[in-house]
Symmetry: D3
Subunit: 326 residues, 6 copies
């Protein structure tokens, strides 16, 4: 059984019915079941960065099942078939693969920007915060090595924008740069609050999303959501700072917390509060602007056709015009 890693990866979205499969995929949620006749089989999802398919291994054994990573990478041999109008992979042989031996890029998209450089610039911008309490809170996050490691790899979203490894970092970094550029034009705003609000607004995504093998929601993320998780993270750190003798006024935490809670800008997008401070409005607008710019330019660049228009974009309720005028 050879792993065939020298050949280019056969991507999930390129598989057609009736192909012989001999490839490494990520496996998720494998389940051992028995048919009505009592035979054992394994149901699973097989995925890479381009999508996922159902996998079925008939005549399976508990030994095979137990040897599977849950989740992890596996070498799959089998065949693609249509079943009830859905493509699936019938698996004949399956074996766990050491993650160090796979090209992770094939399984998870990754930002094209330099993560170290972006994180460095974020630290520099956070360093400009002058209000001592806001600065202390923000730096408590920077000081949490594990969290910052997650922050640098988490995706910015599941599907809509910045849906890649490092996407959360890229989105936060770009929002901070936009804020730096336009805050001088709105001198009435409390700049420290805007910068800290941006830095922390999506921090809960590090807990809401799983992104080791494929992008998905954690159970906790789906039940609670990144907005509430970000709020909890701020409160936990504020309490720790107070316990350590650093005063953090409840008003500071509430003003920051309000930015977190309201940054989706509308109830129907999951914000339990509408923006009620100038700073909350600013963070909401910069978030929306940066997310949409990524979504729109990705959709325009992502099309391989030579048409002047992209396919219909459901989230934007329009097709996008791709032709450059200038």
């Amino acid at each position: 059984m050879t792993t065939g890693t020298t050949a280019p990866h056969k991507f999930i979205n390129k598989i057609t019915p009736g192909e012989t499969i001999n490839e490494i995929y990520a496996v998720r949620d494998p389940i051992l079941r028995s048919t009505s006749r009592g035979d054992l089989y394994i149901a699973m999802f097989l995925c890479d960065r381009t999508g996922q398919l159902n996998g079925r291994m008939w005549q399976a054994t508990e030994t095979v099942y137990k040897a599977l990573p849950k989740p992890g990478f596996v070498h799959v041999q089998g065949r693609s078939e249509l079943y009830q109008n859905n493509l699936q992979i019938v698996v004949n042989r399956i074996a766990a693969i050491d993650p160090s031996k796979v090209n992770v890029e094939d399984y998870l998209a990754r930002t094209s920007k330099d993560c170290d450089q972006m994180f460095k610039e974020i630290v520099e911008i956070v360093d400009t915060i002058r209000n001592p309490q806001i600065a202390a809170l923000a730096k408590a996050f920077l000081a949490d090595k594990d969290l910052m490691a997650s922050f640098c790899v988490a995706p910015g979203g599941m599907k809509m924008h910045h849906d890649c490894i490092g996407g959360l970092l890229e989105h936060t970094h770009n929002m901070l740069r936009v804020a730096q550029a336009i805050l001088p034009l709105y001198p009435k705003l409390q700049a420290d609050m805007v910068l800290a609000g941006i830095f922390l607004h999506d921090m809960g995504k590090t807990e809401e999303l799983a992104y080791d093998i494929a992008f998905s929601y954690t159970d906790s993320g789906q039940l609670i959501g990144h907005i509430s998780k970000s709020l909890l993270m701020i409160h936990r750190r504020a309490e720790a700072l107070r316990a350590a003798g650093t005063p953090i006024d409840p008003e500071v935490v509430d003003a920051l917390g309000h930015i977190i809670l309201s940054h989706h800008g509308a109830y129907e997008f999951g914000s339990p509060k509408l923006p009620a401070t100038a700073e909350a409005f600013m963070v909401y607008y910069i978030d929306d602007l940066d997310a949409k710019m990524d979504q729109v330019t990705s959709a325009i660049d992502g099309e391989m056709s030579e048409s002047n228009w992209t396919a219909w974009q459901n989230a934007l309720q329009t097709r996008l015009y791709r032709k450059r005028i200038e």
Copy 2:
């Protein structure tokens, strides 16, 4: 200057233009300002349980202003006037009154039920919770004397339902009794989770609302909201229990937290998550049923007319039919 407490209280909603005023009211948000000519005056709100009016004291002094409670009770002498089509009270004399000397019932409505009895029954119902972690969490709230004192006096809402001292207690108590009555009919549900969810679902209202002199939102309550505050309260107690050696699984806290976050049932009512467990749906329905029953029967009983119909109820988008058929 006599306080005239032996006469019945002159309620705000009974004042007509041109009356002489000699009465005790709650004062809120008094502000010292100067007119364009440089004279000082005091603007304030004067309130009781039936409403509030603007008060204006012309030719005021800093001494008078400083002596005012902010907020508190005051004896007001003056006259009612129409100003730009709004009724206001022109204040000639004003003096702080010791709260112990006023009949608080005139200023804040109070539930007609027996609060001690209701709290006792709540404790009994919470005692039926058998899951040790859920029970430990619920009892950590019962053990917090200060919080329970607030829980027993806080209103259930600002305007719509249970808007009285003890209203939160009455609403929670009635919801728990409804749950006890119908849980046997839905045996698939996890009863402990429903009961704990109801007990805690609005606990954050103790921090969201101020209810000492008149009902209002606290700053923190308006910025964060009772839903997120309830979630924070649960997490704080779960961490304290863990620190004290009682295991509380994150899954338990997330399932309870999810009930809290989703109990308004829809994004547009401020829930950042939609119900996604059978227990969350049950708590949402019982909450809505009990709130609406209070709102509807209060509106029907509250009308003094002999008409078969109440006035238009904006929140219900209908008038209510008052005639009894049976």
Copy 3:
């Protein structure tokens, strides 16, 4: 040609492309058509409790067509094929089957509860109604043997909840038990009106839905709807009672009728009136609660996966969390 009823039924949702079919299905809407070349063929739907597929019999004759039940049960021999991305059954032989010979359970889901027992309990609850006019109206329904026979087998809905034979009975029975349990907690409500309103609220579904071979809407049901049909049924019986000398006040009929018309709770769900009495609100909430509890627990139990989450539930706009905590 053998019917093969000893083998387990091959369910519609288990058929894959390219299978040989030799099975009994319900047939609906068979139509005789001619191809562009002038050959006759029959188009039909073939169904069981798990779904339906298009069936096509090429080279058909008028004799075969005339022999088909419309609708009814048929023994089908043929083959499954993909056509324009939809699975269909190409029929080689088809023959009518006596309904008495099929296992009806395979074609129509049936409640797991004891229908006789449920109906007996409904009669007992209706017997508690003390207002003579409301009691007379309700008992006029109980006395209508044909209607009660339909009431005991009709489904509670097409797809969303209680979509099984006996579903209307089960839903009505459970709602009445919920009402009995919580009415003592809301003493201001007119209990007789709530109980009669629940008993009658969906009675028009006996005319709106067809449920002999498969669940579908009748023409009349689709044009008029069960809400208006229930109202008409009440008026018809009230007039019959009056003609027989039993006084039934228009006010009683209007109050009951209002509960019927408003029990969907919102215009967008087909109620032409919004609830305007406390009793109408109560019936609306109990209906919604019981329907959702059935829908949610069925979705949770209905999944065969071991995942913590169900598939996306479009009507609830969420996936459901299946993991039990307690």
Copy 4:
């Protein structure tokens, strides 16, 4: 005490604070109450075609109260006053007036068209219906003298359009003429069904609205609505015709009933069914067109200003441009 009927009527909407009142008004909902001191007073509404005001008679007696019509016309002597920012009439003397002695036109607006002529034309149009069952149903309505008398005086609506005595007749008449004019352009439609549908679409307004002294909803009208009442009327007559030996197919009643139920065109306007036949769409469009033309031209003509624009029209979400171009 003189009734002063020779002077022009002092209209409600022309009364200013501080006027002496000596005029005939319609009285509605008079109630005898006692003040906190135990004195009796009467609260009532005083109305004419231009609006209504609260009336208060202090130091009233049971004798005076019992002598009042409920509702009816009264001669009022008193004075207008502002009370809590609302204008009211303080009544010193009040006495019932024989309706035959008042100029009813001052109290209820009346269509400017010739009612006898309009009804005659409606009868002629209904006579063109050729389908015997539809014709029999429509003529059963024409044969009901009491109902036709109501049909000729009922208003077409409360506020929005045709809100005058004879308004229902005028609206129905005009819709029938529009249908006659355009049905030849849509030959696929079943003209009989459209004409009968228009004739009957709002018949329930004769029961929904009260219009003897002032326009208001009846209790039954508010609980049930004219749409459901119209449906009930059709069914009642269909059953009477069948009992008398005239066959009326359920399909005919359902198709007509569907037009009634769906003629508001959308759930949010109180239709429990959306149009699902070409004829139902046609009736919905003609109803909407004729109602809006009346509403728009009345708003344009009703303004006394010389401005090019009317006041804001809330139901239309715009101001209307009044300048004629041609």
Copy 5:
């Protein structure tokens, strides 16, 4: 290679997987691409009046690509296949066909009405306009031969109604006849404005839509829309008339322009202004009525089934009842 035009056209919506294809189709958006191995292939859409499919020609050459019309008609030889659950045509040979040799009716639906006759009647109706400025404007359009040629062939819409060659003419013609029939019933309206408004309301569709080979949006049409294009056309002609010495008051152009802008009747349907004149309301209602009558009767006639109901109509949110009663 024979074109096989004597056999009936094989329509796109009748192709099943695995068929041999030897037929003429319209080709759109052909693109020359290279595979990962460097081989050239052509991607294209192949269409007729019943739909479109993806076409793929592997092992293509630049010569073949350059010879293709973009767009135009082609003779295609190849085979139908399922690819990722979508039917596509694998093309072996492809050759341009002279449009004069194809039966255009197979590729673009055409109105069944007589276009010359309809245009003649439109000219006659426009001739009845008496206001000299409105008449001058309308006739400036009639005098534009190229535009009128487009006006007589453009479709009335992409999918919903009058989606055929001549559809715009048919829709405009029928609306004008409806207006002629009912304007006498609404004498307060300015008839000239209504007639001119109808004549011009969709004129921009001649620029918004492309309809030579298949119906599609032009780039300019999709960016700007027919509503704004119609407005621009009116202004351009008004300026030309003024330049030529014919006075056209801005008020006339604004009133006509307002009808154009508001004729979709609601913001969500793309009208930037809501109707604010009686004439604008009339044009909006007649447009909606005529469009819906076409949509509903086409859906009812278009079904080949013998069912009493059509398939679900998504735009109408209902199925349609097809059974004739009369």
Copy 6:
């Protein structure tokens, strides 16, 4: 009769009932009417920057009426009164005032920024546009002296944001500066298109709004709207440039026109097209951000109270938190 201009202006929103009025106001829409007795009177609006009141002059003459500016400034002597709960001014003497003699600032709010400096900076930014066609179009606007004069004084809106003389200039200027600051962060966007789109996006407001005496909509503005007017302005100039020999591609005009049409971002805000290019999204976001920042900071600064919260902001559906944290 003295004009009293040395005393501070008595602002409309400071007038209480029963005051003697001797002041200069702007007069709008004066109308000469006759009472039912045949006496002539004048109805008018009297306004300044703080609001407007109805004015009534009884016993007026045609001579007085004819002497009034329509609109303009007048010296008014009279008295304030409540009439039907609305404050009005009963005018005894009225006389036209030369506009040069009034302090225009009292009647129309004016931006606090330096208009010459802002316009100079706009010219500089427009000068950075390098695409020759886009530059030519933008400069054709700069070259129109009359239009630029209007552009420099027109308000940015009626009520919501930048509602002051010079507001359009200030809003456009700030948007251009925001774009300059953030365009480098979004290098995929066509910067020239964004800058020209911003410069022209609201140009039609110069025709939509009247702002000489008070802010109001012009007839043409209300019928057509500034969005469509801006589009017309671009087309007019493009045609003039082409006539003068400067090539302007239709694609350039359409791409710019699309930005104009879509810049409100949603149908319900009056955009007939949704953004479909990256540049259109950017202009929409910058417009919304700058408008909201003005609206929010104005609301926060505009309150004179010392409360932590502003009054309810209906357009934002919240109160705003005013307390500064930093």
